[in-house]
């Protein structure tokens, strides 16, 4: 390895330090944390994790998050696929304006929408359901998914479509059996981004839920209020929120760089 590999190594170390600290703290007892500084856990304990996995209000937070993130990812990618196809293959009245309008939603500050979303979803009776959060996140994820997929689709030659239609394929059959498999990498990258945003976003998810669909990230805020400030428990809950993300990146690791380069994103 040459000397230039120093840069990524130093960068990755910088990225890992706060994560290490979070993980280290999750194995400490609250007493040890508050007693003073220690680089490694002195009295190694699984108690924080045991608390989380035995208390339904804790572990349901994870289940809720995973439910609405999954609904959102599937929904966003499913509706974005035909739309991206339309944008990449056809000209139609108002196409450019529509595309730009979609993207402007990606620029809207989530803080602007918090209160109106609360009122809207309460009015239609979706407040505190997984569907509400999944639908709300669509506002940001659909434009992004359309944008990513459109890039990938435009790099597929149009001859593919024409040949298939000449061969007598109907549009739905062509689309699902030939076209989507040919942009698998793009679907992976789009799904990755939808998952990512929906998993990490909290302001809207917290505003739209109370008990039944409360996300894990919102459950965490209660360690600060009840029974003082339980840092060990907070650290353990935080550590567990990193795991789903890590699994998802592991699956798309080979697509990511290649995927970005192929698509216009």
């Amino acid at each position: 390895m040459q000397k230039r590999s120093i840069v990524p190594i130093v960068y990755i170390l910088f990225l890992m330090l706060p994560i290490y600290w979070l993980v280290a703290m999750s194995f400490k007892t609250t007493n040890e944390i508050l007693a003073g500084f220690s680089l490694f856990p002195q009295t190694f304990t699984w108690d924080n994790y045991i608390t989380i996995f035995t208390d339904p209000t804790w572990y349901w937070g994870y289940i809720n998050s995973i439910i609405y993130v999954s609904i959102n990812t599937v929904l966003s990618v499913t509706v974005a696929l035909p739309a991206a196809y339309a944008f990449s293959r056809y000209r139609f009245l108002g196409d450019k304006h529509l595309f730009f309008w979609l993207l402007t939603n990606r620029m809207a500050p989530a803080a602007v929408f918090a209160l109106p979303f609360f009122q809207l979803y309460s009015a239609v009776g979706f407040f505190d359901t997984h569907i509400a959060v999944a639908l709300a996140h669509c506002l940001f994820n659909i434009p992004l998914a359309v944008w990513i997929l459109e890039g990938f689709m435009s790099s597929v030659p149009k001859e593919l479509d024409e040949t298939a239609f000449v061969d007598g394929y109907s549009f739905p059959r062509f689309f699902t059996t030939i076209f989507i498999p040919s942009i698998k990498a793009g679907v992976g990258v789009a799904a990755f981004f939808c998952f990512m945003f929906s998993w990490v976003e909290l302001l809207l998810a917290k505003t739209l839920t109370a008990v039944e669909a409360k996300p894990i990230a919102a459950t965490m805020t209660r360690t600060a209020s009840s029974a003082g400030y339980e840092l060990g428990l907070l650290a353990a809950a935080g550590t567990l929120t990193i795991i789903p993300g890590a699994i998802v990146i592991y699956f798309v690791r080979n697509y990511i760089a290649k995927g970005f380069a192929m698509g216009r994103v």
Partner: protein, 287 residues
């Protein structure tokens, strides 16, 4: 060439319905609030453009806007060059590529409030790794709950930690798409490293960098959760960025009229600056 086909609208329809439901109805609610005064009980009075005038002339808004531009400016100036530099020094192939990518992408997949909480416990003066190191090993007096400068350095460092990888991933994707033949040609011509960067790598990365800069601009301009969890906008108001101020006004004080007017001004600024960036960066392509 694309074919003209109005039936393409049917393909776009589901997206349109979903996004319109989420965008237009809430947006109209905000517009309604922004021109009315309410005293609760669903009593509303027409207020005209008074709230807009009030926000645009208020010092509180100017201060928050100034802090927001400073924050976003710092983020772009630090993260974009740093991201490019890291992407350039990464291996192009082999076993270490996926390892680097996975580790680098990790911070982006951590929920935003966990990022804030993580940096909070990382920087606690007596028991956090960084806080302890600065205060007790280096002897620097560091406490971000007291010192605005320390708070600023901390939120900027946190954002660099959180989002530089996005620039790295995008820049790296641009780099790996450059065919080897380009480098060989440059070698034959005896081009310096700088020339290779300036005339081959940078132009090839331009599209992805445009996207990286746009995304970093939008997201840092709209940032809320991480600085809110880390500093709560303090000490004083020193790290109260636009979104924090907005939420404080809307949900804390329940000043719906001014908050709605501020939302729309805020959104308009984000849109305007994004459009400006986009036009400036794609200008050459059009000519």
């Amino acid at each position: 060439m694309k074919t003209e086909n109005q039936r393409a609208w049917f393909l776009v329809l589901p997206v349109l319905v979903l996004v319109a439901f989420n965008a237009l109805i809430p947006m109209m609610t905000v517009v309604n609030y922004s021109v009315q005064e309410t005293f609760g009980d669903n009593l509303f009075f027409w207020q005209g453009l008074d709230w807009y005038e009030q926000i645009l002339t208020s010092e509180r808004f100017h201060a928050a806007l100034g802090r927001q531009f400073l924050f976003t400016g710092l983020i772009l100036v630090i993260e974009v060059p740093l991201g490019i530099a890291i992407a350039l020094s990464m291996p192009r192939q082999g076993f270490w590529v996926p390892v680097c990518l996975v580790l680098m992408a990790l911070p982006m997949l951590i929920p935003w409030n966990v990022v804030g909480a993580m940096w909070n416990i990382f920087t606690l003066p007596d028991i956090g790794l960084l806080g302890y190191f600065l205060n007790h090993t280096l002897g620097i007096n560091y406490d971000m709950t007291q010192d605005p400068l320390a708070a600023w350095i901390t939120i900027v460092t946190m954002d660099v930690w959180h989002w530089t990888s996005l620039v790295v991933l995008l820049a790296y994707a641009g780099l790996v798409s450059i065919p080897d033949a380009y480098y060989q040609a440059a070698k034959i011509d005896g081009a310096s490293n700088w020339a290779v960067f300036r005339f081959i790598q940078l132009p090839k990365m331009k599209t992805v960098l445009t996207i990286a800069i746009l995304l970093r601009f939008m997201d840092s301009f709209n940032i809320y959760t991480e600085p809110f969890v880390l500093t709560g906008g303090g000490p004083g108001n020193s790290t109260t960025l636009l979104s924090i101020d907005l939420v404080k006004m809307a949900l804390g004080q329940f000043d719906l009229g001014p908050a709605a007017a501020m939302s729309l001004i805020y959104f308009a600024i984000t849109l305007g600056v994004s459009w400006l960036f986009y036009t400036l960066m794609t200008k050459d392509d059009l000519n």
